[in-house]
Structures are given as C-alpha cells and as structure tokens.
C-alpha cells in the first residue's frame, strides 16, 4: 500500500482486513521520508525507532481486538507541542536539546487512541511567522514547488501531509498558522474554536489566541482526529466543558436550508490574486449547486484585524517568552558574570530576529505611556471584530472566504520586510481574535499551485463547518490532487 496520502479511513479498512499492518505502513512512510526529506526538510526531528515501537504496540492492540479509527496511524507533530521522549524545540535555538518530561494533552489523547508519532515538524520560531523561514534551524520547502515556502507557521506539518511524509499532522493556529500553510500545500487545515482542544503542553505564544488543530488529506480525517483530541482538560483552565460530538458521524447529510455568508470585506478591490478570487467564486458555485443558499453579510472591521493582532499577539508573547531566562531550561550563555548578564545574553543569543522583534513590539505596546494608545486600543477593536461575527452569524450558518490573498510565495521574497510577511495572514487573523472555528480546504490550482477556501464557523460549530467542507470535498476533485514530488516518487 502506497503511503502517498492515503486517508485514515482507507488505512483503517486495510488494517482491519489485514491487508497491511501499522509496522508495514510506518516503514513505508519512513522510507518515503528518507527519499524526499533532503529536498523537503519538513521534520526537525524524526523518531524512527520510537515510531516502529509504537506501530508494533498498535498492531498488538489490534490483534487483541481493539479497533479505534486512529489505532496504528502514523502522525507528525508540530514541534511546539510537548512530546515525552522526543525533543521539543519550537523551531528555536533557545530550546535546542529540550526534552519535556510530559506530553501535551492533545498528544497524550492521540497516543492513548493508538497513533504512531513519527517525529516533530518544522515551524517558524515559537510559531511566529508565515513561511517557516523564521525557523531557527532551516526552511521547509513547498512540495508543489521547492523554490516556494510551505506557509507557516505549521509549514512542516502541511508539507509533510501534502508529500505523503505523514498520514496526518498536528499543528497550531494563533493567527492562521494551520489554515494558511494548508492552503499553500493543498491539504485540509482545521483550526478549532478557542478552548475546544486543551492547550496544556502547547508551548505558549499568545495565550488568548493559541489553539491546536490538525492538517490532513481529507475532512473526514480532520473530524476523526478532532473528536479524539477535543474536550475539557483540568490542566487547561481555558479548555471548554462543551460536550464533544462524534464529528465524523455528522459529516454526511445534505446542505438544504444552510445559509453561507459571503462578506465583501474578504474580496477587496486589490490585494487578492485574480486566480485565487476565481477559485473562491467557483467554490461558491459548488456549494450553491449542493443546495446551500448564499447570502451577503458584512464584517466591517476586518481591515483592522491585522493591526489588532500584531499588537495583541506580540504583547502576550513578550510576557509568555519571559520564561526563557537560561536558568531552568533552554540555552544558557556560559560566559555570564552575573544573573543579569546571563538573562540578557542567553535571550540575545537564543532567540532569532522575528521573536526579538515581536518581544520588543509587544513590550512597547504594554509599556507605561503607550498601554492605552496601543494595547488597550487593540483590545477594544477586538471587541468590534468579535461583534461583527456575532451579527453575521445571525444571518448565516458559516462564512466562506479565501484563506490567503495569493498562492505560496517564493522563499526569500518577504523575509526582509516584516509588514509584507504579516499581510500573508490578512484573511485568517480575525477568526482567532473572535475565538471561532475555521477550516481551509483545497479548491483549485492557480499556475500549478494550490488555492484554499476557508469555511468559518461560530463558536463550537465545528460539526457545521466540517459538514460543509466534506460536502464540497465529495463534489470536487481537489483533495485528490498530488504535488509533483509525489508523481516523481512513482515514476
């Protein structure tokens, strides 16, 4: 069985009927990783031996009669989620060699279900970036065009799933870091509602925005992973007590009577690639043909999401990253004469340029004399952005929008201009500020590069957006498209 983007559902059948084993499947994927990683560079750490052990354990559990859909499924994990027994670096030299003594709750729940963790995927340092170019180690390449970025910050996870170097992957999304790379790499990317999945063990970047989610080949795979990861966790006081439905069992059923909102603010006159715009228009036609009604809604404060986000997220980051002091973990400057020198030099040498930039920006926005003008002002506009969604969802069940204004950009194109890089997130930021759920799914190709469409949902309406995305997927061929790197592998 070829590992090149088989779905969890397909693999489950193959495992049930004895056509393959988790060990055989894991070996195939490890072989594939060996073959393509020199070009792709999606993994920061590969845990081949541990993966084969986990696969053996999964095969034993299956022969003992267990049959969870995730039992024996090889999975990649973004390197900002803590993993016992494996390094967790957050793509930062600051945490090189750090091995957490515990698993993130999301990881622990998936391990319990029997997934096979393959390793840790590349990310922009501390998840701050849109291309993986801010990784302290290296840049991951887009499997559709190796000269382009995979998006970020979950770019390693997106590239791995797109290229068949993992069946599925975990990511995190603070301002679009799951959905944007999913769009750039032509895979499904699900960002759950804030609080839907525990943040325990997700290394904090911006605590009021961070949320763990998944990157997968199909919507059903995303549903299967979400229903296993989600739910209240006593170790995360912000995790929600909302019951967790069986999302996978709610995918089927028609879209009759469903209303899809289209907000003109997501289709500005300029700033969206015409090919992206055409693909989104085409997607709207598919949903209309499936029985959904398209209604116009307005999210008037959308244009302010970018300044709000790039004040609030750095402010929270400047506080969260104060913990990296070279004392309890992480890089410690060896030549320091006193504790103050140790703090300043460990942080100066451990952090990369974008992390320093955001720490500085956030501290400025919080500092005496500027707090009201920047931080408090941004918090107030966040209220307006949240109210926009509350009003829009009175008129529709979900909102359709482009995930990104363009397809994947070239490596190096934006790296020297932070503001240009921030613009890559312009269509994904609002959702995090409002704490809602969203999914990006492939909806076309433009000049040989994938385009993603977002389905945005109200809080805890994951079942609705998953059903809309699944119906679209069933009616279109886009989720079956494979990047050239896959075709090359099979001659």
């Amino acid at each position: 069985m070829c590992a090149c983007r088989h779905t969890i559902a397909e693999i489950q059948v193959a495992l049930q009927t004895g056509r393959t084993t988790s060990v055989a499947l894991t070996r195939e994927i490890l072989d594939r990783i060996d073959q393509i990683e020199p070009e792709l560079r999606a993994y920061l750490h590969l845990a081949a031996d541990l993966a084969l052990e986990a696969a053996q354990a999964a095969d034993r559990r299956r022969s003992d009669g267990e049959d969870h859909p995730l039992l024996g499924i090889p999975l990649a994990i973004k390197d900002v989620l803590c993993t016992r027994g494996m390094p967790t670096t957050c793509g930062s030299r600051m945490l090189e060699g750090f091995r957490p003594p515990y698993d993130a709750t999301a990881v622990a729940r998936l391990r319990k279900a029997g997934v096979v963790p393959l390793g840790k995927t590349n990310t922009d340092e501390f998840a701050m970036g849109s291309s993986t170019e801010n990784s302290g180690f290296w840049t991951t390449h887009n499997p559709w065009d190796l000269d382009r970025v995979p998006g970020g910050s979950s770019g390693g996870s997106a590239a791995a799933v797109a290229a068949g170097a993992a069946v599925a992957a975990l990511g995190t999304d603070t301002g679009g870091s799951i959905r944007q790379p999913a769009a750039f790499c032509g895979v499904v990317g699900l960002k759950p509602t804030y609080g839907r999945v525990s943040r325990h063990g997700l290394v904090a970047f911006a605590s009021s925005l961070d949320q763990a989610g998944v990157l997968t080949a199909t919507v059903r795979d995303a549903a299967l992973l979400l229903e296993t990861m989600a739910g209240h966790d006593p170790l995360d006081a912000t995790s929600a007590k909302e019951p967790v439905p069986s999302y996978a069992s709610l995918l089927d059923g028609g879209l009759q009577g469903m209303r899809l909102g289209v907000a003109r603010e997501y289709f500005p006159g300029d700033g969206v690639d015409p090919a992206v715009r055409d693909a989104i228009q085409g997607a709207l036609g598919v949903w209309r043909d499936l029985g959904a009604e398209i209604v116009e809604v307005s999210l008037p404060h959308t244009e302010y999401a970018l300044p709000v986000y790039y004040l609030l997220a750095p402010a929270e980051a400047s506080a969260n990253l104060a913990r990296y002091d070279g004392v309890r973990f992480g890089f410690s400057y060896p030549e320091a004469q006193d504790i103050w020198d140790a703090y300043r030099m460990s942080r100066e040498q451990g952090f990369g340029p974008e992390v320093k930039r955001r720490i500085m920006l956030g501290a400025y926005a919080l500092s005496a004399g500027y707090y009201d003008a920047y931080y408090l002002k941004a918090q107030k506009v966040r209220t307006l952005i949240k109210q926009d969604f509350t009003q829009a969802f009175q008129q529709c069940d979900a909102i359709i929008a482009p995930t990104t204004p363009t397809t994947a950009f070239r490596i190096g194109e934006k790296v020297d201009d932070p503001l240009q890089m921030y613009m890559a997130d312009v269509f994904t930021l609002s959702l995090n500020l409002a704490g809602l759920c969203g999914i990006s799914i492939p909806c076309g190709l433009a000049d040989g590069l994938p385009v993603g469409v977002q389905v945005l949902g109200d809080a805890f309406q994951e079942a609705t957006i998953l059903r809309l995305a699944h119906s679209f997927e069933q009616a279109t061929p886009w989720h079956r498209m494979r990047p050239p790197i896959c075709r090359d592998a099979h001659g």
Partner: protein
C-alpha cells in the same frame, strides 16, 4: 512616527535583550514602521467599547487543592542547564 535610540534601549532592557548596535538600528526603523501601520486603529472611535482580553465565557475556574502525583525531581531538573544536588545553580545575583 520616529523612534529614538534611547526608547529602543529602554524596551530592550525591560525584556532583557542585549541587542547589538546593528539590531538597535534595525529595530528602531522596523518598529517605527510597524507602529505606523498599527496607528490606523485610531480611525475608530472606541470610547464606549469595552476591551476584550479573552473570548471564553468562563469567569473563575476553581479546583480542589489536592496533592497529586506529578513528575519526579530528577525529571523536573533534567533540562536545567546547571543543576547540582537537586538545586538549580544560578550566576551571582548580588555583588560580591
């Protein structure tokens, strides 16, 4: 807006970063440029708008104060750059 070199150094001291001269100049320019772009929030009148710090409907979250098993001291200290006899050793805090 213009950002002064002293302001950059002040912020760097608040966040304990020992910036190089080149970084001070780079961040002086880039932060000013970014803050200019953020200033468009001032187009909006927010006098009567309450701030949003978080989006959950929760208020206080309590749990029982109970001892539970967690990881061992050796696990907890495994990542400490300079540990000795179950302690974390730091550089001098006070002048000798």
């Amino acid at each position: 807006m213009a950002l002064e070199r002293d302001q950059v150094l002040h912020i760097a001291e608040l966040v304990k970063l020992s910036l190089t001269e080149a970084e001070v100049e780079l961040y002086r320019q880039q932060l000013a440029e970014i803050l200019d772009a953020m200033a468009r929030l001032n187009e909006l009148n927010t006098d009567d708008i309450p701030p949003t710090a978080h989006v959950t409907a929760q208020r206080n979250v309590f749990r029982e104060d109970r001892v539970r098993e967690w990881f061992s001291t050796s696990d907890a200290l495994a990542n400490v750059p300079d540990a000795s006899d179950g302690f974390v050793r730091v550089k001098p805090v006070l002048d000798k």
